[in-house]
Amino acid sequence: MAKLGDLAKLIRSKNAGSFWLTFDIMFDDEETYRRVIDSGAVTPESFAAIYKVSLDDIKFVNHDAARAIKISIPRPIFQGEMADADLYGGQQYGPLVEIEVG
């Protein structure tokens, strides 16, 4: 087992416009990228469980040329609304770092 944070070269979250939030999990090499995909640890289902979001709302992409897994969801709170705590959406990836990969 290893933590996703130890395997990825970069895990980040960011606004994709004011109404979407996007997560990038990027890898240095093909082997690690494939290992994480094949492990089944990062899937639309596992993401939906962590972020309490409906499966229908998740855009999930494996980008082979970039060796990256990309997940996008409608922003739980629109950017800049009074209740929004993360204007840039930059600190929403924390729980992904801790995901255990088999």
């Binding site: 992409v61 996008s72 409608p74 705590a85």
Partner: protein, 456 residues
């Protein structure tokens, strides 16, 4: 072989770039220089309040170098989303900087300012005609929303920019524009391969963000040819690799393979990335699929109220172990105080108070999977009222109440918040929200944008 050479000085003007990198790009003889000047990334305050995100000084430094290079090469210089939000206030701010530089340097040129701020009557007419459609997800949008909005802008495509250059503009200051359109306008005028041109635009609009190890904002150069394009960073210590270039379509983008523009979609599914040299990358196979209907995205901001903020820390283990109930009772007691103060003139609906508990779930709120309290927490209380006077009165009242709010364990007067500032109530100013995520279907790509020319 046709070739269009493109210099992108930096991801956003005012954030800086190395002069040496930029000059190396100038020596490569670009056909145009383009740079983004704004974004919604900093939130609705910039559109709502008509204020810029970046400093006058930083913007002037970057713009001076670009204007001098433009003058030397006699090529178009294109800046879009001027003054951050691209409203009329932002455009006027950028124009003033440009004119100041022109006077200082003795530059002569034809300037085009393209306004993107929307007339409310026009937006209402298009709404009535059913020519405005929501994107997903979108806030409720009707005539009242349009009336309430302090500013509404349309995000232009490349057409108004190309029209301005065709009419002889040497320098284009555009209001709100898609970042890519700034780089797609000239290739479109020259009938370039637009699949490649749009994909190239998507990569270079962030300046040197597409390098392997981004150290600072900097310049990149691109060569657009008939069947491929090449991108190279202008700092010799920087490298692009096929992976770093492919990765760039991920950034701030919900779908890396399908990127929506006013006139269609950039499709990168079949794009092929290969190393041109050990520092540059060649891309081919990108496509552009024209949309059935041309659409212009609207952005709008409305005023929510006036806000004060109080920041306090809690270290008392007894308060921490009952933090939720302490906060609940505090907010309940505050509600009663508001009635005392305003005699019912200010009701529950007229103000909001939001406590954010940092050290527990201040960052993720209800999504936090581990909402544990540590040995201390920081609490940010936000009080928003209809105007400054009321918001200030609410904040003054709240901070005193919170400071001494009791818990059962301690008998006697307590001071339960460590407050680092005097006064405790920080004037946060006017608060805005984005009120639109919709598109307009215009008759013509230029109908929503008004261009003014002047000889400087």
């Amino acid at each position: 072989m046709n070739e269009i050479r493109i210099l992108s000085p930096t991801g956003v003007i005012g954030s800086g770039f190395r002069e040496e990198s930029f000059q190396r790009g100038v020596e490569l003889n670009p056909h145009f220089i383009a740079c983004d000047a704004g974004s919604t990334d900093g939130g609705p305050a910039f559109l709502g309040g008509g204020v810029p995100h970046f400093a006058w000084e930083g913007t002037k430094r970057d713009l001076r170098l670009m204007m001098l290079a433009r003058d030397k090469l006699n090529i178009p210089l294109i800046l879009g989303s001027c003054g951050t939000a691209g409203g009329d206030a932002g455009l006027a701010w950028m124009r003033e900087i440009a004119l100041e530089i022109a006077a200082e340097e003795g530059l002569k040129f034809k300037l085009a300012c393209i306004h993107s701020e929307q007339d409310k009557a026009y937006v209402k007419r298009r709404l009535k005609e059913g020519r405005i459609a929501p994107l997903h997800p979108a806030p409720h949008f009707d005539e009242d929303t349009i009336d309430r909005a302090t500013h509404i802008v349309g995000m232009m495509g490349p057409e108004p920019i190309a029209a301005a250059i065709e009419d002889g503009a040497d320098m284009v200051l555009a209001g709100r524009a898609s970042d890519t359109s700034l780089f797609a306008a000239v290739p479109m005028m020259q009938q370039a391969n637009m699949g490649l041109a749009w994909h190239l635009a998507k990569i270079v609009e962030c300046g040197a963000a597409c390098v392997v190890q981004r150290k600072r904002p900097d310049s990149v150069f691109a060569w657009l040819r008939d069947d491929h394009f090449v991108i190279e960073p202008l700092d010799l210590d920087n490298r692009c690799t096929p992976q770093s270039i492919a990765s760039h379509t991920l950034y701030e983008n919900a779908d890396p393979f399908l990127i929506t523009e006013p006139g269609g979609t950039i499709v990168t599914t079949d794009a092929h990335y290969e190393a041109e040299t050990d520092r540059s990358v060649r891309v081919s196979g990108s496509r552009f699929e024209p949309a059935e209907r041309y659409s212009i995205k609207l952005e709008g901001a409305e005023k929510v109220g006036y806000q004060f903020v109080i920041i306090g820390g809690v270290r008392d283990p007894y308060i921490l172990r009952q933090l939720d109930s302490w906060l609940e009772q505090l907010l309940e007691r505050f509600k009663e105080r508001v009635v005392d103060l305003f005699g019912g003139d200010i009701g529950d609906d007229d103000y909001t108070i939001i406590p954010r508990v940092f050290g527990r779930d201040g960052v993720m709120g209800p999504l936090e999977p581990m909402p544990k309290v540590g040995h201390e927490v920081g609490i940010v209380f936000e009080l928003t009222g209809p105007d400054r006077q009321i918001a200030h009165a609410l904040a003054q009242t709240f901070s005193h109440l919170a400071l001494h709010f009791p818990i059962p364990e301690w008998r006697g007067l307590i001071t339960g918040l460590a407050i680092p500032y005097t006064p405790a109530e920080l004037d946060k100013g006017e608060v805005y929200r984005f009120c639109v995520n919709h598109v307009v279907y215009p008759d013509d790509p230029c109908e929503m944008f008004r261009t003014e020319f002047e000889e400087v």
